[in-house]
Symmetry: C2
């Protein structure tokens, strides 16, 4: 039972899709599958963006895709950091040769519009602002709409990490005016890890079209990849991971059969079901209620508990995986994921039952 920060349990239909015999990646039938996947990624991102496709590598490569394509040496950008993944974005932006203005806050807190306003005073014309919608390292759910207005009023782009929010909590790419977004497949989508859906607004496409320098990564260069995924005549770029694309198609179909909003509601409902029981056992949430992700529960353990030992017992004796803390929270918190197929009352009952026995 995968109840960590990802991967989550995959649906049997998705696992079965993985074992479908291969076809050529330029076969007209596979091109049709890529088109279907693209359309379903648009539907699940709630966007009409034409430049929507899937990077042939995990979420971290999706992050790098957004940054290396949008930033050029000498550009200024604002990166918001309240956990591991904001820090990673700053690291990559720096490797792009951009000047990085960091908006930093204690892990477990949100970035406020006031903090962004202060950053915009120091850096009034950033090329982009990057922010994490759902911080996998802390369980914070970041409000985006006000910050979206602030960066757009300053003439910059809004780039969002949606790895842990996509298909699990409300996320509206077009309504919220997100210009560049990436996610992963192994969280609320419950497909195997290895691919990263991404989408770029028309504003972002203009920035791509007006680049002065070549993108530093050939593999992630959108001007090349887009002709493979979305060109009128598909041009060979690399070889897409055929089996993983089959699985992604199946996982996206399952999301749309359930209904995107129903899926958001399910994650919230199972979270409510689990929360009281965890608190009853002495667990305490890291994040204040208002900004808490339903699907990634970052909790301090009851006093006196050896977290590593308990986590290991859960894994080896109960076959349940939960995640440990990262960075400053290593050894202090657990990250309990209820994502996609792992988001059921049965999962919660198994975990809580085991904890009752062990504590």
């Amino acid at each position: 039972m995968l109840m960590g920060p990802g991967p989550s349990d995959a649906h049997p239909r998705v696992l079965k899709a993985m074992s479908t015999p291969l076809i050529g990646h330029l076969d007209p039938d596979f091109v049709g599958i890529m088109d279907e996947v693209k359309k379903m990624v648009q539907q699940t991102f709630l966007t009409k963006n034409h430049l929507t496709f899937v990077v042939s590598a995990p979420g971290s490569a999706g992050m790098e895709t957004c940054l290396v394509n949008l930033l050029e040496p000498g550009d200024e950008c604002i990166i918001c950091i309240n956990g591991v993944f904001g820090g990673r974005m700053a690291e990559i932006a720096d490797r792009c040769g951009a000047t990085v203005h960091k908006v930093e806050v204690e892990w477990g807190k949100i970035i406020t519009p006031a903090m962004v306003k202060r950053a915009l005073k120091k850096c009034p014309k950033p090329k982009l602002l990057a922010i994490v919608h759902a911080e996998t390292s802390t369980g914070v759910r970041q409000p985006l709409e006000e910050i979206s207005d602030l960066i757009h009023n300053a003439g910059g782009l809004l780039m969002v990490d949606a790895v842990t929010s996509y298909c699990g909590v409300e996320l509206r790419v077009d309504d919220w005016n997100i210009d560049a977004i990436y996610t992963g497949t192994q969280k609320n989508l419950s497909a195997p890890p290895g691919l990263s859906p991404v989408s770029f607004s028309n504003r972002a496409v203009k920035v791509l079209d007006n680049r002065k320098t070549k993108v530093q990564s050939w593999f992630l260069d959108m001007s090349l990849v887009k002709n493979y995924w979305a060109g009128k005549k598909r041009a060979y770029h690399h070889t897409a991971p055929v089996s993983s694309v089959y699985a992604l198609r199946e996982a996206l179909s399952i999301v749309l059969e359930e209904g995107l909003e129903n899926r958001w509601k399910r994650h919230q409902a199972v979270h409510e079901y689990m929360k009281g029981q965890l608190e009853g056992l002495g667990f305490k949430y890291l994040v204040s209620k208002k900004y808490r992700l339903p699907n990634l529960n970052a909790v301090f353990l009851p006093k006196g508990v050896n977290e590593a030992q308990l986590r290991s017992t859960l894994l080896h004796e109960y076959n349940i995986e939960v995640g440990g803390g990262l960075g400053a929270f290593a050894g202090k918190i657990w990250r309990i994921g209820i994502m996609g197929e792992s988001c059921t009352k049965n999962h919660v009952n198994s975990l809580v039952g085991a904890l009752k026995e062990l504590l």
Copy 2:
């Protein structure tokens, strides 16, 4: 029937492995699987290199991994180009800020030691020389040993693209003193596309350790990835594609069960079996016999044949995929792959039988 330049048909055991339920990518059991895979990659590369692992993305990302880690801005390198993939290496090396000295020859010919000697006169102290062992765009099998001596005598590293040779034709990383090598999974290994095994010699590791600048790609930065794949305590970097690693393990096991040298012999034997029959039908090989790859047969079609139409009929009526030509050879040649599980007399008989009917 996949008889193009890749992917090849996957073994049912490999497909079945893809549908194994997921476990966490930091689960001790998965770490054990990574260790097994690493060991089998060493065995199939015929190397003892400690820095041997698998990039979580297709072969093109393996190519980029080698170049971005070994090259820094201002470095000089020699890139050998006799097809698409040499050209791609030069393109990526340029994006690393390196000065690229190209050794170019007509597509379908090999790079000779004499050509490399001339390049070394213009550029006597290159950081590396990069060359393609098996050019997927032309079917050329490139001898490496003399060129290896030349670049090492000049104090540089030998980097090799082995995407289409790995597990299909003789390839000896340690004996041939190859310093950096990458390959793919979807050719003679017959696993699904999406991963890229790579290996670095101790000479290459010294170069990595002495870098003055950060690697421009965070996702492909070996100094980070190595602690995920090979560190004493595994450090989270990205989320490995768990299912694809299962499949890779199974495919590598199948290679070692057959025996690496037996597998090389099988590719040669099936090639001999096919060659005479294709020539009997009026196909002509692009590459001279001495430098012909057994597993990637680049052939001109019999006169007067509409190649695109014939290829489409083969695909739609016989369910057989063969590859078209790339670049200057588009519309002129076919690339017939007999790789891994697609390298059987049955495949050849199906193809030749269909061609006899259609021509």
